[in-house]
Symmetry: C2
Subunit: 230 residues, 2 copies
DNA sequence: CTCAGATTTGTACGTTCGTACAAATCATCA
DNA sequence: TGATGATTTGTACGAACGTACAAATCTGAG
């Protein structure tokens, strides 16, 4: 049936690689074909349009990644210790973004990087997918966090989850900046380290009391006030 | 000397607006001219090339923003209380990203959003600027944080600063997602609220002990281990 | 071996892009 | 006012883009 059963995959993989590093608009179908060792016509044969190709990449990854996330979330909810549970929940969200179960090594991180780039470009196709697919998963996580941190308003959890995603994205988009600023003491491309750092940072952020209602703050948290600078 | 002294400014402003929402590659010079009410030829007259226009936008904002940051940082360093000082330092970094001193209302946020989009697109012109200009400022902040948190390794501070920038960027790129997920309880476009949330979250993250050396951890922090899920 | 269907190839079309440039227009000052 | 330099306009060009499509090629079943 298929002459080279890997041609379609090769195109998908090449597109994923190029989109995730250069963005959508900056990559031409000819670039993708060249990278995949295919003819430009083959790309339109398999995916009809450039948007269709992007959509196919999302379809390929979204399901498995969010499925894995929910699996890990269900397990995390069962953790008895409250502190450990929160960390497990955050980890359940972060880890599948770095290593997809359905893919080769690094495939998950590449796809997440692609999502980061697409979200910045404001791609229309992607915007729809996020609202339709990702919001469901994210809501499940917010619900779980809310259960573990009942004193925290949902809106604050939403903010901090947003920051988590931003941290995730920017880490994948600009790993070399960590390496540069750390002067060799850290490697921004070390994904295992990145996961630990993001999880630790997010858990600490979530455990902090709300901005508006600091019950046991160590210092007075100023709100809507000028910086101490004169 | 100038027929309409605002034409150059109008083009700059239009380009800033369009680049920050659609990215660099997706916006054509004709789009910019249309938005600015100018002729496409005028754009190349004033800025020679499209890259030149982008560079000019950066030149316009980088100086004042980083100058303001350093001013606020100097003041923050003088805060006596250690807890308040750390918050002041973080605020000194965040606040100028939202409201540039040299510009109209929202100009700072727009430029920061532009930086977010550009960093995701991997623009070459921008990459050079970041390494040349922004690293200096960022290093000053990392140094200041290091002084306030001597027990924390520099590499960890770098990671958490990276997360701060990611949170900042993503908040500006996707404010509507906060609004959606919070179900009306929060407004992602409320920049004052965003600043408070980012500052509070970052300060909490920075105050947490290091991943590798948890001295007074409330729970055992697992490292390089599988999630509790079987 | 043959043939039908799947896939790849090569080419072409219409559009849009960044940029260049000459002509037209305007503001300023002697 | 008339000349000069700054700016705007209109047009054009070559390149690259997404897409379409017919011809060529390959694969697997009968």
């Amino acid at each position: 049936m298929t002459r080279n059963p890997n041609m379609r995959e090769a195109i998908l993989s090449a597109a994923e690689l190029l989109f995730s590093t250069r963005g959508f608009n900056a990559v031409s179908i000819r670039d993708i074909a060249l990278e995949a060792g295919a003819n430009p016509g083959s790309v339109t044969y398999h995916f009809k349009t450039k948007d269709g190709l992007l959509l196919e990449i999302y379809k390929r990854h979204c399901g498995p990644m969010n499925k894995r996330r929910i699996e890990l979330l269900v397990a995390a909810r069962r953790v008895r210790d409250v502190e450990d549970r929160l960390e497990a929940i955050v980890r359940a969200y972060v880890q599948p973004a770095f290593s997809s179960s359905s893919d080769l090594a690094g495939g998950g991180a590449r796809f997440t990087r692609l999502r980061a780039v697409m979200s910045a470009e404001g791609n229309a196709v992607v915007g729809r997918i996020i609202a339709e697919i990702f919001d469901d998963t994210t809501n499940s996580f917010i619900d779980a966090i809310e259960e573990s941190l009942p004193q925290l308003p949902r809106s604050t959890i939403v903010w901090r989850s947003q920051f988590l995603l931003g941290a995730l994205y920017y880490t994948l988009v600009n790993p070399e900046r960590v390496t540069r600023l750390a002067r060799g003491e850290a490697d921004g491309a070390d994904m295992a380290e990145a996961i630990e750092q993001i999880v630790a940072s997010t858990v600490a952020s979530l455990r902090a009391s709300d901005v508006d209602h600091p019950p046991s703050a160590t210092g007075v948290v100023r709100r809507r006030k000028e910086n101490p600078a004169s």
